[in-house]
Symmetry: C2
Subunit: 97 residues, 2 copies
DNA sequence: GCCACTCTTTCCGGCATGGAAAGCAACAGG
DNA sequence: CCTGTTGCTTTCCATGCCGGAAAGAGTGGC
């Protein structure tokens, strides 16, 4: 079992972003509004956190106009998944699991 | 399996404090210097974090003068263990484990 | 009295965070 | 067209946490 290298990641660790990553790790892709509701933050706050994740290269933001509605969907990038997995591994180590 | 109620705890979540709690959860009691070295922070920083944990009622600080040396040992309180366990449960939930 | 050891506390500057509100782009309606 | 709405984004701002450096304080040894 190729153990993931534990690595603490401050970008991932912040509560809202940890949740965002956790969601995206499971569903692969999720819409902005759905994430906002799941994480329970305001539009502006989510937007800012997503931006940080995007700038870190952890999430991909896709904007589409579907059925004349603007739809922004989020997904973890490969780097994002790696960072999340590594961070979770680190948490496991810390928590002694 | 008596599931622990997942509950996010900001006091526990901060990186240095998560480590401190993680250590104390395993060893039950540990000396100030040992924790400081394990967590790799300065005396002042550890002291401040310990204070926060203490004020939250999560760690007990015992000071003893043993062999004419001041010795401060730290231990999780019951509340501290509960909070840590609950927080870890929350992390598991978030991480999808 | 003076020094050493072991934390504590204070004093900083800096960065992250969230709420509120203004901005903006795309599109529907009148 | 002009206006309103939807769906984010950005700015502004006030607060709080954080860690490093340095001064403090308590206890005991010399």
């Amino acid at each position: 079992m190729t153990a993931v290298e534990p690595r603490f990641d401050a970008v991932v660790h912040a509560p809202p972003r940890l949740q965002i990553c956790g969601l995206l790790a499971v569903v692969d892709t999720m819409e902005f509004a759905a994430v906002r509701d799941a994480v329970q933050v305001s539009d502006s706050v989510l937007s800012k956190h997503v931006k940080q994740l995007e700038e870190a290269g952890y999430v991909q933001v896709r904007k589409a106009t579907i059925a004349s509605r603007q739809r922004t969907s989020l997904a973890l990038t490969k780097a994002g998944r790696a960072a999340f997995d590594a961070h979770v591994a680190e948490l496991r180590k810390i928590a002694g699991l």
